[in-house]
Each structure stands twice: as C-alpha cells, then as structure tokens.
C-alpha cells in the first residue's frame, strides 16, 4: 500500500509535459560543476570537471555538455546525464567563455590570455580557425541565424562582429570599459553588450552596427562603482531583458521594447552569469562571492530561492530536455 502511494505521484510527474531540467553551475575555485534540479531546486550532485571551470554550455539536443577548463587550456565535454567526461576539445589557451552555433556546431571560444577567438568543430574535434581579436576577449554571442558571432574584448573595449562563413571580422563597435557579455534578442534586431567598468549596456542595431541606446543603472543606497553589468539574458518574446550587476548584488529587469529599467532584484553577492529554464519559468544567477545560485521567477520578477553551490560559482546552463 505504501509502495503504491509513492508510485502514483511519480507516474503523475512523468506524465507532466514540463519535466525537470538539469541546471549545471561551474565553480571557478572549486574545480567542479554543481548540478541542480530545476523543479525541486535541490542539488543533485557535484562533479569534478578540470581546472578553473568558467564558461559552460550544452548542445541544442542536450547530448553534450561543454565546459571551459581555463587552466587546462581546453574544453572538456561531458555526458550531461552521467557527468562522465566523454572527450576534450582543443580550445586554444585559457578558454573563458564560448558560444555554440545555433545548429550545435561549431563552438566559438574566447581565449582570454591570447587575444584570439578559436573556432572548434565539436564533431571532428578540429580547430577550424583562429581569429585575432582585441585584448582579453571574453563575451561571446551569436546571431539567431548563426551568420554573425560577436566577441567582446575587455581591454580593447570593442564588440567584434565575426562572419561565421569567412571567419573575418566585418565590424568593430567601440563600447564602454570592460565589455563582458554580448546577447542578441531572439529576432536578431537588437544586440546587447554589457560594460562592467563603464557601468552600461550598449544597445546595438546589428544591421547598421550603430549604438542606438545605452542602458544605465542606479540603485538607491548602492555606490555607483559597485554597479557592474556582466551577464545579459533576453526572454524569447524579447519583452524582458535581465542584466546581472556584479558586486551591487542586483539583477536589473529591463523592458525589452523601451530598454528602460523596470526593477532591481536583490540576489547573492557578485552576480555574473545567468540562464533560463527552457520554459522561461526560472532564471538562475551565479553569485561568485556568496557561493550560491539565486532563482528568479521570471513571470513574477521575484527571487524565490537561493541554493548554495560550490566555490565561486561562475557560469550556468540549463539542459534543454
């Protein structure tokens, strides 16, 4: 009787269309990845992934998990179900952050110490190209049609537009100091580039490569220097933009149509990267100084929980299935 009672809710859960997804968080100083369940918000496990893991992403079909092992100078590829290492990819030195082509191949990697973007074929494990960019490349974004990859260089202060067919830089846009992240909206009409020291997010028209607006931030009671925009995420409908504001411990919620700040959500300390669940119910944020992840209810625009993870959480990705 007791067994039956347990079985019934389990079956009911399986029948639900919105299954729980696995959330993967890299812990830069812990050299591991913490895996969470996106529904229960509990930690499933912690797995070693190599030295100084930072950027993390997952194949569109959920078959392969990619981790920048910065101090190993390569990308490690894991089975997202078992967290067993499948193989490694050559990434060039000090890979920090990367972006997958929307088709799932290739992978575009920012080599922070070497002023390069390395393009790696995830099937053949071959380096397809090395593209010289500005000093300290970090942010990587890709246009929804996959035609353009954006790299931001933190000391050069530019967003470099790279043609994915020719691997040539086709435009450079000078933005404010220390650009950390580049993110397109889903119809490809806007590109958001955050500037950590400049304290702004530049809104760029990808068609003309012109800056059409700059989002600035002001939080009462917080020193302006502490407001350092890093991660940017846009909802599929383009209506909400979330910007992680670093040591101000806030995530800004922005109207994606007017680019005006609507609210600031208090999260953990030094918030950098963020990831949505596929249904956009939740947004997860990595808080590097409080060693936790904040969970934001996207519709309600509220922080609903914080979950302790490993040492200095850096990147986060949610499995698509």
């Amino acid at each position: 009787m007791k067994h039956l009672l347990i079985l019934v809710p389990a079956l009911a859960l399986l029948a639900e269309p919105a299954l729980a997804n696995r959330v993967f968080v890299t812990n830069e100083k812990g050299n591991d990845v913490t895996v969470l369940d996106s529904e229960t918000l509990e930690v499933i496990g912690t797995y070693p992934v190599g030295n100084r893991p930072r950027g993390i992403t997952i194949a569109p079909d959920g078959s392969e998990l990619y981790v920048c092992a910065s101090d190993d100078n390569l990308v490690r590829v894991f089975d997202p179900q078992t967290m067993e290492e499948m193989h490694t990819l050559p990434s060039g030195p000090d890979p920090e952050l990367f972006v997958l082509h929307p088709s799932g191949n290739p992978l575009y990697v920012a080599n922070e110490d070497d002023n390069l973007v390395t393009v790696v074929d995830v099937k053949t494990h071959q380096v397809l190209a090395e593209i010289p960019v500005g000093v300290e490349p970090e942010g990587m974004g890709v246009s929804p049609d996959g035609g353009i990859v954006i790299n931001t260089s933190e000391t050069t202060n530019m967003a470099h537009f790279i043609d994915t067919e020719t691997f040539q830089i086709v435009a450079n846009v000078l933005v404010d100091s220390r650009p950390r992240f580049a993110e397109y909206n889903h119809d490809g009409t806007k590109l958001y580039v955050s500037a950590e020291i400049g304290g702004t997010v530049s809104v760029i028209d990808p068609a003309t490569q012109q800056i059409t607006g700059k989002i600035t931030f002001e939080v009462p009671g917080v020193l302006p220097e502490a407001i350092q925009p890093v991660g940017v995420r846009v909802t599929n409908d383009g209506k909400k933009v979330f910007v992680a504001l670093g040591p101000s411990n806030r995530v800004a919620v922005i109207d994606g149509e007017t680019d005006e700040v609507k609210d600031y959500l208090l999260v953990g300390q030094r918030v950098w990267q963020m990831a949505f669940t596929p249904d956009e119910k939740y947004l997860f944020t990595t808080n590097g100084n409080s060693n936790d992840v904040s969970v934001i209810d996207v519709a309600a625009e509220e922080v609903v929980k914080s979950v302790p993870v490993g040492q200095q959480p850096w990147g986060v990705v949610v499995a698509p299935n």
């Binding site: 922070e112 000391t155 050069t156 086709v170 220097e225």
Partner: protein, 400 residues
C-alpha cells in the same frame, strides 16, 4: 577639449561602419618613451626585493602590446622607447626624447628628478609619473604637464588609516626614518591621523647611521636592537613604519617590545598593485604579465602599464594620434580608463593625480582595498584618499 570631443564622435561613427575591418593604408603613429632614472642605492634588506633589469619597462611593454592589439582595429600603431639614465644624465635624455618627436614620457624617478624633468620638458611633452610618491610634487611643486599615475603618500596613508579606523585600531606608534622622503611619508601619516581621528601616541626616529643593515650575523644585533628601540612606548594598537629608504622597517615585525602588529612600509602595506591580486580580472592580467616577463609584477610595472594605457585609451577614444588632442582628452572630464581595480580610473583636475583604489597587502595577499565603504564623498569615494580639491596647494596657470 572641444577638438577632442569632436574627434571622439568622428571616431565612433567611423568605427561602427563595416569598413573598419580593413586597416587604413596610413596607420596613425603614437610614439611614447619610458625614462627610468636609476639612483645609486644600497641593496634592499631582503633579497626578494632585489632590483630587476626590466623594472617598469616590462609593464610598459605589456601596455604597448595591449595598445597595439587595439590599434590593429583602429589603424593605430604604438611604439615605446625605453631609456635608462642616472640623475646626472636624465635631463639630457629628456631633451633627446623630445628632439626625437616623442611627446608622452613615462618617468620612473625620485621626486627631485621627476620635478627637474617636468621643468625641462615644459610644454614640449606630457610626463606620466609612474614612481615618485611625494605630496609636494602634487602640491606646491605641481606642474601642469605631469600626470601622477603613482599614488601619493597621502593616498597611501589615507588608505591605511581608513582600514585601521574600521578595525578600531586608532592609537598608533609612528616610527619613521631620518631621510627626507621618510619624513615626508611620516607627515602624510600625521595628516591622515588628524583626518580620520586616529592618535599618534608617540613618534620615534630610526636614525640611519650608515651601519651595515644586512650582514651574515646582522639578525643577531637586530634581534637585540629592535626590542630595545621600541620599549616603553605609550599604549598603542599598531606600529606604523614610515621607511621609504628601506633602512629598518622589514626588521620590525615580531621584534617589537609590545606584541603589536606593524603596518606602513612593512606588514600591512598600502600599494597600487600586488602580484597576488586576483579580483576584477586581475588573474588574467597577472598571467599575461608573467608569461611576458617571466617574473611576478611589481608596482612600478603596474604604474608604467597604466600610464601607457592612459595614452592608448585616449588614442582609441579620440581616434587620433595628435598629441595635443590626446592631452586635451586625458585632462577632460570625458576621460576614464580601466585598470583592473573594479572601477573607472580618472584624473583629478586640481593636481593631475590619477584617482585609484589602494590595495592593503600582506606578503601573500590583498587584505583589503580602500576606500573603505563607510567613507563617503560628494563627488567620488576615491577622493577620500589623498589631497582633495579644497586642501590642494597646487595651482595651475590658467589653461589657454
């Protein structure tokens, strides 16, 4: 000023166009020099502080590489000439640099030589002071053509004072050396104590009598001498050492009569940079420097790097190589530069000191970064460090 802003707008437009992918046929040339003036000095007390041949130059090389990488996208080419001199030859070297057509000179020299070089250059070149820390150089002896990238004594003392007040250690025993620069640093600590409400319970002078500081058996004498030297001091929370000349401070920790921590020139030391700094992107900066120079970075390297990044940043933002345009932009309120310190670094218009957070470091780590959170300021929290506008003794001639 007006010209600089116009240049900036033109640059932004040009940059945004797809045409910027190709380098223009005629690259803009931005030429700079680093002039390091080596004084004859005793070897340091600790061999860990032995001078390195590429001191300052290595930082300048990294900055020039950084500037050149950005320059590839701007059609700008950066070149830096490295020159070593003695106090006797420095002025002639400055003339040669200027005769060579260079108008931005990073100077690594003591206060007197820096001032002499500034006067020699006059309106022919802009100096970027990457070593001298004296307050007079930014005060009564200030020169319009000099930007002080190195933090001042007053900034370093204030940075430490803020931390000690937060720590609730307001009673200081001040021990300073007998050389003029030691006395200048001691004056900065007196000023900081008054500014932040600390009390200097007593001052003692450690006379440099010219004896051997470090010998094979030196520690035996030192072990006997330092406790005696520090005994019978009034109650204090901490000993502050002001020893710019590296005569005695490293001997103080663990040998003081009273069991008290030591700060200032040893112990908890205020600095512009530290090779273990990892926050704000510092890790990759350290990695890049160490890979290039095969040694940990020193303050002079960071300061020379920052000096040349200031020139590079101005060239990028103005899309210009015209020295007058770059000077005007650097001195305008439009200018800021990132320096791995978590916030914009800017230039004070009243004495041309670069505003910057100060690291409080032990041998191995950054213990804290000032300004401390509780010290507020109406314009910039960074102006709680050093000589603020109302108290400056610097007066620049009217800018034409």
């Amino acid at each position: 000023m007006f010209k600089a802003i116009m240049g900036f707008l033109a640059g932004a437009c040009a940059l945004a166009g797809p045409g910027m992918a190709q380098q223009p046929p005629e690259a803009q040339q931005i030429r700079t020099a680093v002039l390091r003036v080596d004084e004859r000095r005793l070897p340091p007390i600790s061999r860990l502080d032995l001078p390195v041949a590429d001191l300052g130059f290595a930082g300048a090389r990294l900055a020039t590489e950084d500037n050149d990488t950005t320059g590839r996208f701007m059609g700008q080419d950066f070149e830096t000439v490295e020159i070593t001199a003695t106090p006797e030859t420095a002025v002639a070297e400055m003339d040669r640099i200027i005769a060579d057509g260079i108008q931005f000179v990073v100077v690594l020299a003591d206060d007197a030589t820096t001032l002499a070089l500034a006067d020699q250059a006059g309106d022919r070149a802009m100096l970027l002071n990457a070593r001298a820390r004296g307050d007079a150089l930014r005060g009564a002896d200030c020169r319009f053509n000099t930007i002080h990238v190195a933090p001042s004594h007053a900034m370093l003392a204030d940075a430490l004072a803020q931390f000690l007040m937060w720590k609730n250690w307001p009673d200081w025993l001040l021990v300073h050396g007998s050389h003029p620069e030691d006395q200048a640093l001691a004056a900065a600590y007196r000023r900081s104590a008054a500014k932040f409400g600390a009390t200097i319970v007593e001052e003692r002078v450690y006379e440099d009598t010219g004896g051997a500081r470090a010998t094979d058996s030196g520690h035996v004498q030192v072990q006997a001498q330092i406790p005696v030297f520090t005994q019978r001091a009034p109650d204090h929370d901490i000993l502050i050492a002001a020893d710019e000349s590296d005569i005695f401070a490293p001997y103080l920790p663990y040998l003081t009569w009273d069991p008290r921590p030591v700060a200032g020139s040893v112990g908890l030391v205020p600095r512009s940079w530290h090779p273990a700094m990892e926050a704000w992107g510092g890790t990759q900066y350290q990695n890049r420097f160490e890979r290039m120079a095969n040694r940990p970075i020193r303050e002079e390297d960071y300061q020379a790097w920052l000096a040349l990044r200031i020139v590079g940043e101005a060239a990028t933002r103005t899309n210009s190589a015209d020295p007058a345009a770059l000077r005007a932009f650097i001195l305008s309120d439009q200018f800021d530069v990132a320096g791995f310190k978590g916030q914009k670094l800017t230039v004070r218009d009243w004495d041309h000191q670069v505003r910057q957070p100060i690291l409080l470091t032990t041998g191995l780590l950054t213990t804290s970064v000032s300004p401390q959170d509780q010290y507020l300021h109406q314009t910039s929290a960074l102006d709680t460090l050093g000589i603020d506008r109302p108290e400056t003794e610097c007066s620049f001639p009217e800018v034409p």
